[in-house]
């Protein structure tokens, strides 16, 4: 798996309430959920995002509630990988278990800007900004997590085993 796409960039401490606001928690269909993704922080996100695009953020992305809809809506919106300076624990787990690739990459916010094209290789952690030529190194995911991601999430992973 290798990801390449256009960057959507946000700051530090982006919480699950703005990624997927509580008022929509009764919505269950991922494609409908995607329409509300990031609504409280970026009204344009859901309209502009295309399949394969990459979300870049600062530290502690996904803090707040345990709602996995925050990961589901991003995946359904087309995001291929979330790369941030760091993540909140439950969001990190949810993303992996739902098959949304997620990588911690110290220094990512310094080398990527909104609209840049980014290429990411999860097995080596190599991140390349195709627009500026700058590079960064993300933390490599442990093999058993890569397995879950490769299978498309925890449910397909369990079905397989």
């Amino acid at each position: 798996m290798k990801f390449s796409g256009t960057v959507f960039k946000y700051g530090n401490d982006v919480n699950t309430d703005v990624i997927f606001p509580g008022r929509y928690l009764k919505v269950w269909e991922p494609t409908e959920m995607a329409k509300y993704a990031m609504e409280d922080i970026d009204k344009e996100f859901a309209k502009k995002v295309k399949r394969g695009d990459i979300l870049v953020a600062g530290k502690y992305f996904g803090c707040g509630s345990s709602r996995e809809q925050a990961a589901t809506c991003l995946k359904a919106a087309g995001i291929s990988v979330v790369i941030a300076e760091g993540f909140a624990r439950i969001f990190y787990r949810n993303a992996i278990n739902l098959g949304l690739a997620i990588m911690a990459c110290p220094g990512i916010t310094a080398i990527a800007n909104a609209g840049d094209r980014l290429e990411v290789e999860p097995t080596t952690g190599e991140v390349k900004n195709l627009t500026s030529g700058k590079t960064a190194k993300a933390k490599v995911l442990p093999p058993f997590i890569l397995d879950i991601l490769n299978d498309g999430g925890l449910i397909p992973h369990l079905k397989k085993s």
Binding site: D13, D17, R23, K26, Y60, S65, E68, L154
Partner: protein, 418 residues
């Protein structure tokens, strides 16, 4: 080498002799709790394709987030879960007439020292008040727990918090934990466990301890624990007939950080918009006009919280330009509050008493905010848009500060009243 509570409890739950931070374990939780999101869990569970639950008796489902159903969609969700519960014979199901999951779980005897609880709610850390390793997980991984009985977990490092001194009048466990969040910041305990020590913790009621462990989530904590003592055992024995094996930390346990808090100097605290770690003293904010005051939630909706609220209101009225909402954390709490005359006192003072549940805490229904409005709340999150409009502001404080502010019509220090 000595071990922390997290290390000892997780080792037992994984069936291994000894673990260290960073170890990956397959943990077998004793209790697996969900609320309305059990609907989502059951959907994923069906996708896994196994025919039965690993152990229906470990599963607890409590409706609290939108009770009674505020929309047709929620009603459908509730219905799906009720049907699932029947089909799979889940006996620990609590419908809309019980209360908030984090209050109902201990009330019904599911919090036993030394055990592991996982819950599809981030504030599942609350149950660490009973010496439980209790942590929040997502709905999909809960489906895996329902199907397989286990879950992968990393052993966390532990932060030791030691309190010294005593609370001044008007200062409560809510002020202690808000102050700590301000110090450690929102990600100060991310991926970590916390253990709390000190005379003030020992002297605290069970309800006050739950405030501390509940809000520890707002520093990112994976689990927050208070070593169990006689008070814990007495409580647990009154609600649970099951035997348990309490776990205490070793005296030479290794902590990644120790934080000392001097309570003698602590003044009432308030978390300002739009982050829980944006903590100031109430004094600094005093005079800021408010339109709503909310007393309730899994953080501060217990009898002692309602009592503090009534103390502030006694002989006075809620300010005419303020809507005060009171939500007991459970129907048991509601019943006790009725017997103690607290509900009558709230009504007489002009407050609106709602049915137990999460209410507006997560912005689903029952008292949302309009653009430009300010609410002071005894809940645990003040994120932008959490309680209605993204243009509204939420301030978090103790029940006493909330009630004092409701009377004043503006943020105000609690009065010392007996």
């Amino acid at each position: 080498m000595g071990k922390t509570m997290a290390e000892k409890i997780l080792a037992r739950a994984a069936g291994v002799r000894s673990v260290s931070p960073g170890d990956l374990l397959d943990v077998i939780p004793d209790v697996a709790m969900s609320h309305e999101n059990a609907g989502l869990v059951s959907k994923s569970f069906k996708e896994i394709g196994v025919s039965k639950l690993f152990d229906p008796d470990r599963i607890v489902i409590i409706f609290d987030h939108r009770v009674p159903a505020e929309s047709e969609k929620t009603a459908e969700g509730h219905k799906t879960v009720r049907e699932f519960v029947k089909k799979y014979k889940i006996k620990n199901f609590f419908d809309i007439n019980t209360g908030i999951c984090h209050q109902v779980l201990p009330e019904q005897g599911f919090c036993r020292p030394g055990e592991v609880i996982v819950g599809t709610d981030s504030h599942t850390t609350t149950h660490g008040a009973f010496g439980v390793f209790s942590t929040g997980i997502g709905a999909t991984e809960m489906a895996a727990v329902w199907a397989t009985g286990k879950l992968w977990m990393m052993v966390p490092e532990t932060i030791k918090v030691v309190t010294e001194g005593k609370f001044s009048p008007g200062v409560f466990s809510k002020d202690l934990i808000l102050h700590l969040i301000g110090l450690l910041r929102a990600d100060g305990a991310d991926y970590k466990a916390i253990e709390f020590f000190g005379d003030a913790i020992d002297e605290m009621s069970i309800a006050s301890r739950m405030v501390v462990t509940n809000l520890s989530m707002e520093m990112g904590a994976k689990a927050a624990m208070i070593p169990p003592d006689q008070k814990t055992f007495d409580f647990v024995k009154t609600v649970s007939g099951k035997p348990f094996q309490a776990v205490l930390p070793d005296s030479d346990a290794k902590y990644c950080r120790t934080v000392d808090l001097d309570l003698n100097l602590l003044a009432p605290q308030i978390a300002c918009p739009h982050a829980v770690d944006n903590v100031k003293t109430v004094k600094e904010l005093a005079g800021t006009p408010i339109q709503q005051a909310l007393l309730g939630s899994c953080t501060n909706g217990r009898v002692e919280d309602l009592e503090e609220g009534v103390k502030q209101l006694a002989g006075r009225k809620v300010h005419p330009e303020v809507r005060m909402l009171v939500i007991p954390a459970s129907w048991k709490v509601y019943r006790q509050a009725l017997d103690k005359g607290l509900i009558a006192a709230f009504i007489d003072a002009g407050a609106v008493v709602l049915n137990p549940g999460c209410g507006p805490c997560l912005g689903a229904h029952q008292g949302l905010l309009a653009p430009g409005e300010r609410c002071i709340s005894s809940t645990n999150r003040n994120f932008q848009g959490r309680m209605g409009s993204t243009q509204a502001e939420i301030y978090l404080a103790s029940p006493a500060t909330v009630a004092a502010s409701a009377v004043a019509g503006k943020i105000a220090l609690p009065e010392v009243r007996s």
